[in-house]
């Protein structure tokens, strides 16, 4: 058994020297994810607010102004211009200056006074589905609310009062939702690239061939390479978490130590992936391309951006093979929902299994194929 890992300590020693010597590169590869986080964290806000809106108020009396106030107060609409004709309103929308046009007809107040049905025209630019959806929801519910209040004249209470309440992310803040997922992607980025490069560099220099003429065993070599980067990946995770907690004020509902602990199998997977890539790639640029190939599925099929539940069955099945899926489950679970090991152990087991399988494949490939090169 000890023989299987032969050379591990020597490689570990050498690898830490490389890391220390090339501190500049390491520093940048660690700082860039933090910058990415900064950009994405401040840049992405999926909550739709302040939609540019154009208003054509043909009525202009008190009732119409009250309705407009209610729409404005919803925080969904931001009135950029009041116009005086249908033509002007249409033009604003076609030009893309406004995404919503609200037209209150000239007889709006009259109809209300006569207890007739008053119509309000809401034109919505459907080219952005989430903006359109939000606009429809808010306008219809305000319309409904307005109708009910006028129907129930004597301060009667509503028969059914629906009160939805958001758990875990009560303010619906985007960073709270996005950053835990982003952690998984950034961590994957750094660790996969670092390990893949560290081995491919040896191929390029010819030192890998030299190592294979020594009694070092593939497992000893690979683990010796992997462990220093496991430490670096872990350090990176701690930085990202600190950043998330204090720069973006994402609340930590669960145990941060548990999260750190559960990140180890994930880092292990991404390092093994890097090693697997390096067994295929013969140059650093080739390794770079392959690494990008692994990052795309991690972004799209992990639940980071698109919810897994809405995916076609094929892609949903595919997501089981994407390590980031499990880690995003872990980060969101611990950070947002306060989940514990009881809920998350299957994710950890899945990750650890994947890592072991990937590393074993890589070791086998090194034993058989790289030797022939």
């Amino acid at each position: 058994m000890r023989d299987m890992f032969r050379g591990f300590r020597a490689v570990f020693y050498k690898e830490t020297l490389h890391v220390r010597r090339d501190f500049g590169t390491l520093f940048f590869s660690l700082i860039i994810p933090l910058l990415q986080m900064l950009l994405l964290g401040y840049g992405i806000d999926t909550n739709i607010r302040q939609i540019n809106t154009v208003v054509f108020n043909a009525d202009g009396r008190q009732e119409s102004r009250e309705l407009l106030d209610r729409l404005k107060n919803s925080d969904t609409f931001h009135v950029i211009r009041y116009v005086n004709s249908d033509q002007q309103m249409n033009n604003m929308i076609i030009a893309g200056k406004a995404h919503v046009g609200i037209k209150i007809p000239v007889d709006y107040s009259d109809k209300l006074l006569h207890h007739m049905s008053a119509q309000v025209l809401v034109l919505i630019d459907g080219s952005d589905s989430s903006v359109a959806g939000q606009a429809i929801n808010v306008t219809t519910s305000i319309g409904l609310d307005e109708s009910l209040r006028r129907a129930l004249v004597n301060n009667e209470t509503f028969a059914v009062d629906m009160r939805p309440k958001l758990l875990f992310n009560p303010d619906s803040r985007s960073p709270n939702f996005f950053l835990p997922g982003l952690t998984a992607i950034l961590l994957l980025n750094v660790t996969t690239f670092l390990t893949a490069f560290s081995i491919v560099r040896e191929k390029e220099r010819g030192t890998l061939e030299q190592l294979f003429v020594t009694p070092v065993r593939p497992m000893g070599l690979l683990l010796g390479k992997l462990l220093p980067y496991l430490g670096i990946g872990f350090f990176e995770l701690c930085m990202i978490l600190t950043f998330m907690r204090f720069a973006f004020r994402v609340p930590m509902h669960g145990n941060v130590i548990l999260l750190a602990f559960l990140s180890l199998p994930y880092i292990f997977v991404s390092l093994s992936l890097g090693i697997l890539i390096s067994s295929k790639a013969n140059s650093q640029s080739e390794a770079m391309q392959l690494a990008f190939l692994t990052i795309l599925p991690s972004i799209f099929f992990s639940g980071y951006i698109f919810p897994l539940e809405t995916m076609p069955r094929f892609f949903y099945a595919l997501s089981y093979f994407v390590p980031a899926r499990y880690f995003i489950d872990i980060t969101r679970g611990v950070i947002l929902r306060g989940a514990t090991i009881v809920h998350l152990w299957p994710d950890a087991v899945a990750l650890f299994t994947m890592g072991t399988v990937l590393l074993a494949i890589a070791a086998r490939r090194f034993q058989n194929k790289v030797i022939m090169a």
Partner: protein, 339 residues
């Protein structure tokens, strides 16, 4: 081929003497391409075994097979008394290997490179320290211990690489073109070191392009297009009948006008081949030609020959002749195959 059989028998007899390397009928195929074609040779202990051949003829492939980097497609190889097929792991513990590009870590210092390779071979701290001291003394690396390998000149890189390959005290070292791209002084120094070490019983298997290095080897093998076409001491190769066929002799003619002289010499009947060698022409001539007569013939054409004398063939002559002969054979073989 009877000649090959006789060779094989000779190897078997030598096997009893426990050679450093014994290769019999080595074959390596890459798909349809045969990179090494039934190559057999023996390397005796303490020898500097020069392995020569043009680029792409299979030198590095043979080294990779003997060091267990490439599985054999056919044949048997015993290295340090161990079968390469079944005991590659233990073979690697006993041999040292220095590749063409020296395989050092440029971002590590001299000490760190040595320490790493020492640990890879499982040297304990005390033995490692002692071996490092020995190697540093032997190679004169002392002034550069804290320098990064990247900052060493070619000659020093090569010494460091040799040191790294020797930390675990191997009795057999494979050096794959150790002097490629090294200045002449460093080249000379390396060979002095190799002679010194081989005097202490260490065996070297060296590939090289340089003929002067081949002349220094105690045994030379020449591989040409996957086949071994010469194998012996430099002197025995010079005496091969193929090199100086019956009824011919080699002569050296010194003349100030070598280029013009070469053109004319090639026209003279009885001169089989001629090449320029510095300020002289080396020619293979038929025995019946009288040297004075030859000189007179050249003089008639206006070539002053200062000196003309018989000459033993150089190793370069040997390899050139053998290569031509094999090209001719190869052509005949393909003709025969087509028919």
């Amino acid at each position: 081929m009877p000649a090959n059989n006789r060779k094989a028998e000779a190897y078997l007899a030598e096997d009893a003497a426990d050679p450093a390397i014994s290769a019999r009928g080595l074959v390596r195929k890459f798909g349809d391409f045969i990179a090494v074609n039934h190559v057999s040779f023996t390397v005796k202990r303490g020898e500097i075994f020069g392995f020569l051949g043009p680029n792409g003829s299979g030198k590095t492939t043979v080294i990779k097979m003997l060091t267990g980097l490439l599985p054999l497609s056919g044949g048997e190889a015993m290295v340090e008394g161990l079968n390469v097929r079944t005991d590659a792991e233990r073979v690697r513990e006993r041999i040292g290997y220095m590749s063409q590009n020296f395989s050092l870590y440029p971002d590590l210092t001299v000490t760190e490179n040595l320490t790493f390779y020492g640990r890879i071979y499982g040297l304990g701290p005390e033995r490692l320290k002692k071996r490092m001291d020995d190697i540093i003394q032997m190679n004169g690396l002392a002034p550069y211990l804290n320098r990064l390998a990247a900052q060493l000149s070619g000659g020093w890189k090569q010494r460091l690489a040799l040191g790294c390959a020797m930390l675990h005290e191997p009795k057999l070292l494979f050096l794959d073109e150790p002097t490629a791209g090294i200045d002449p002084v460093a080249r000379r120094q390396l060979w002095d070191l190799l002679f010194d070490l081989s005097g202490h019983g260490i065996t070297f298997f060296v590939t090289t392009h340089y003929m002067d290095e081949a002349e220094r080897c105690s045994h030379v093998a020449y591989i040409y297009f996957a086949k071994l076409i010469a194998d012996g001491t430099p002197n025995s190769l010079r005496e091969l009948p193929d090199v100086t066929p019956a009824g011919t002799i080699r002569v050296e003619m010194t003349t100030p006008e070598v280029t013009r002289a070469l053109k004319i010499a090639r026209q003279i009947p009885g001169i089989r081949s001629a090449t320029i060698f510095g300020q002289s022409i080396h020619a293979l001539i038929e025995e019946h030609l009288d040297l004075d007569d030859l000189r007179a013939q050249l003089q008639e054409q206006g070539i002053v020959v200062a000196e003309i004398r018989p000459l033993a063939p150089s190793l370069e002559d040997v390899f050139v002749e053998l290569t031509y002969k094999n090209q001719a054979n190869g052509a005949q073989e393909t003709e025969a195959n087509r028919a």
